[in-house]
Symmetry: C2
Subunit: 332 residues, 2 copies
C-alpha cells in the first residue's frame, strides 16, 4: 500500500488502564496536534471506552481540519496502542487484566466507526517505538523501552524495527523473575520486577515498612496508611524524607536487577525509562545505574545509555503513529 | 566478497575451556568431515592452544584433500567460535576467564598460520546458529540457544540472523539474575542462572546437601565428597537415586526460571538446550517445562518449543561455519 499524496496526517491513539490519549501527527512526524486526554473509566464497559475513543478521534480530526481548511482526505489512518496480549494481524486484544477485555476486535471497531484504516500494537511497544522515532533514542540501532506505571511494560527495537516475537508477546520485561521465591505478582508468578517496582508495588512496600514502625512524613502526606501511593512516596522523597528515599532507593535497585538482565541479554545501545516514577530523577537513576553497573557485563553496560523518556506522556500517541506507518507503508 | 567457485569446503573451529573441536563442512552444509577433538590444555598458554588448533586444522584439511584428490584451493576459509567477550570486527578475544586470554588476536593468528580467511564469533552464538542452520531449530524465524557446561552460554537468532547486540555482548543468558540475593556467581554477581545450573554449580549444590547429611549413592560413585561432579549426579539419577533426582529437579527449576524470563522477553519459536546435562532427558526437561509453564506468559509459552540440541557436540563446529558464510557472503 502506498500513501495517498493528500494524506498529510496520522491519528495516534494510546489506550491505558487509567487514561485515553489521542493526538494527530503530521505524516513526517512532529509535535502531536489537537492532543487530548480523558479518563478511561474501563468499569463502564468496552463499548463505552470505544465510543469515547472514537469521539476523541473525531473531535481531534475536526480541530485539525478546521485549523487547516482541510477535509477527511487529509488523514492516512489511525495507529492504536493498547494493553495486551494482542494479535496484530487481526487487530484483536486477547486479554487485558486492567480493562477486562477478552478477544476484543478493538482495531476494527475503531476503524469502522471512524472510517479510516487502523493498526493495533501493544502500548509499551508503541511508546518504545515513539522514543526511537522522535524521543530519547532517536535513530539508534537497538533500544529497549521500559514503562513504569500501574504495570511495567516493555518494548524492544532491534535494527531500527520493533521486535514482536513469534506471537506478538515479546518484551514483557515487567514479568521477568528477579527473585524466584520473592513477592507475589498480579500475574500469579513470584518475584517479577513488576511485583517490586510498579506503582502499586512501591506503595505496598512503603506501607509494609510503615506498618513495621518506620517513621516518615508519608503518613501525614497520605492521611492514612492505605492511602499511601507511589505518588505520595515521590512527594516525600522531594521533601527529603529518609524512609521514602530508602523505598525509592530499593525500587531503583530492583529495577536495576531487571535492567541488568535486559542488558546482558540484548546488549542495547539505549534503555529508555518512562512513567511517573522517573520524576524522582537522580533519586531513581543514580542507584539504578549503580546496580546495573554492579550486575551487567562490563562491555554491555558500557555500551548502553540509560535515559529518561524524551516524549513523556505523548510517547504512546507518537509511537502508535510510527507503528501505523511501519505496518502500512513498510517504513516510519 | 563472493565465493571462489572451487571453494567447496569451510573449516569449522570450536574452542572451549576443556576441548578443541575441528571439522570441515561441505559449503552447502552436511555432516562435518575429518572431525577431531583434543584437550585444550589452556594452562599451557595461548601459543600452545593456537598451535594445536592450527595443527588440527591442517590435519583435517589434509584428510579431506587426500580423500577427494583436491588441493588447498578447495577451502573457502575458517569459521572460529571462542568464549568471549570478543570483538568480531577485529577478531579479538577481549577476555576469557576459562582460557586466561586478554585482548588476544585469535582470528588473525589462525588466519595467518593457515593461510585462509577466518571469522570469529562467540562459541555459544556459533552453536546456536548451527542449531538454526542444521539442527533442532532448522529454519525457524526466532530461536534461542542455551549451552549448559562449565559455564552457561546463550545465542539468539532473530529473523534468521544471529543477534549480536551493540557490542557483540548479547545473549549472556547464564548471567541473568533469578535470585537477586542468591548464590554467588563466578562473575562476581549474585543469583545468576549459572550459579545454580552450570556443571560446577550442580556439583556444589549436591555436595552441600551431602554435607548436611543427605543420604545418596553419590558419595559411593564419586569416592569422596569433593570428587562429586555434575556427571556423578547424572549417573546417580540414572540409577534412580532420590537425592540426585532432587538435585536434578532443582536444577531444572532454576533453569526454568531463567528460560521463562527469556521467553517473556524474546517470545521465540524454539529454545534449544545443549550440553551434558541434557542427557538427563525427562529428568531435566519435564520439571523444566513445568516451571516455564508456571512462570512464562501463556501466549509466549505456547508459541515456544523447548528442544534438546539436534547436533550435540558438533553444533559449535557446524555453527562456526555458518557464521563464516554469513559474515563473508551475506548468507548461510
Amino acid at each position: 500500500m502506498s500513501r495517498r499524496p493528500e494524506a498529510d496526517y496520522v491519528v495516534g491513539v494510546d489506550i491505558g488502564g487509567t487514561n485515553l490519549n489521542v493526538g494527530i501527527l503530521p505524516f513526517a512526524g512532529g509535535e502531536p496536534l489537537a492532543f487530548r486526554t480523558q479518563a478511561t473509566e474501563a468499569q463502564r464497559g468496552a463499548k463505552f471506552v470505544v465510543d469515547r475513543v472514537v469521539r476523541m478521534i473525531q473531535e481531534a480530526m475536526k480541530e485539525v481540519m478546521e485549523a487547516n481548511g482541510r477535509g477527511p482526505e487529509a488523514f492516512a489512518g489511525i495507529g492504536i496502542g493498547s494493553p495486551g496480549p494482542l494479535e496484530r494481524k487481526t487487530g484483536t486484544v486477547i486479554s487485558t487484566p486492567n480493562l477486562g477485555w477478552r478477544n476484543f476486535p478493538l482495531r476494527d471497531l475503531i476503524q469502522n466507526a471512524v472510517g479510516l484504516p487502523a493498526t493495533l500494537d501493544n502500548d509499551a511497544n508503541a511508546a518504545t517505538y515513539g522514543e526511537w522515532w522522535m524521543g530519547a533514542g532517536r535513530g539508534v540501532n537497538s533500544l529497549v523501552g521500559v514503562t513504569l506505571g500501574t504495570g511495567i511494560g516493555g518494548g524492544i527495537v532491534l535494527n531500527g524495527e520493533l521486535y514482536h516475537g513469534a506471537a506478538d508477546a515479546a518484551a514483557e520485561i515487567g514479568h521477568m523473575t528477579i527473585d524466584s521465591t520473592g513477592r507475589k505478582c498480579k500475574c500469579g508468578n513470584y518475584g517479577c520486577v513488576e511485583a517490586y517496582a510498579s506503582g502499586p508495588a512501591i506503595a505496598a512496600r512503603a506501607i509494609e515498612g510503615l506498618e513495621s514502625g518506620a517513621s516518615s512524613v508519608l503518613l501525614e502526606l497520605a492521611g492514612d496508611l492505605q492511602a499511601v501511593t507511589a505518588e505520595t512516596v515521590f512527594e516525600a522523597v522531594v521533601l527529603g524524607d529518609p524512609y521514602a528515599t530508602e523505598v525509592m532507593h530499593d525500587t531503583a535497585k530492583f529495577l536495576g536487577v531487571g535492567l541488568a538482565n535486559v542488558i546482558n541479554i540484548l546488549n542495547p545501545e539505549v534503555l529508555v525509562i518512562s512513567g511517573g516514577v522517573t520524576r524522582a530523577g537522580d533519586h531513581l537513576f543514580d542507584p539504578l545505574r549503580t546496580e546495573v553497573r554492579r550486575r551487567a557485563f562490563r562491555v554491555a553496560e558500557q555500551a548502553c545509555r540509560i535515559l529518561p523518556s524524551g516524549l513523556g506522556g505523548k510517547a504512546g500517541v507518537i509511537g502508535a503513529v510510527a507503528c501505523f506507518k511501519r505496518e502500512k507503508y513498510g517504513k516510519v
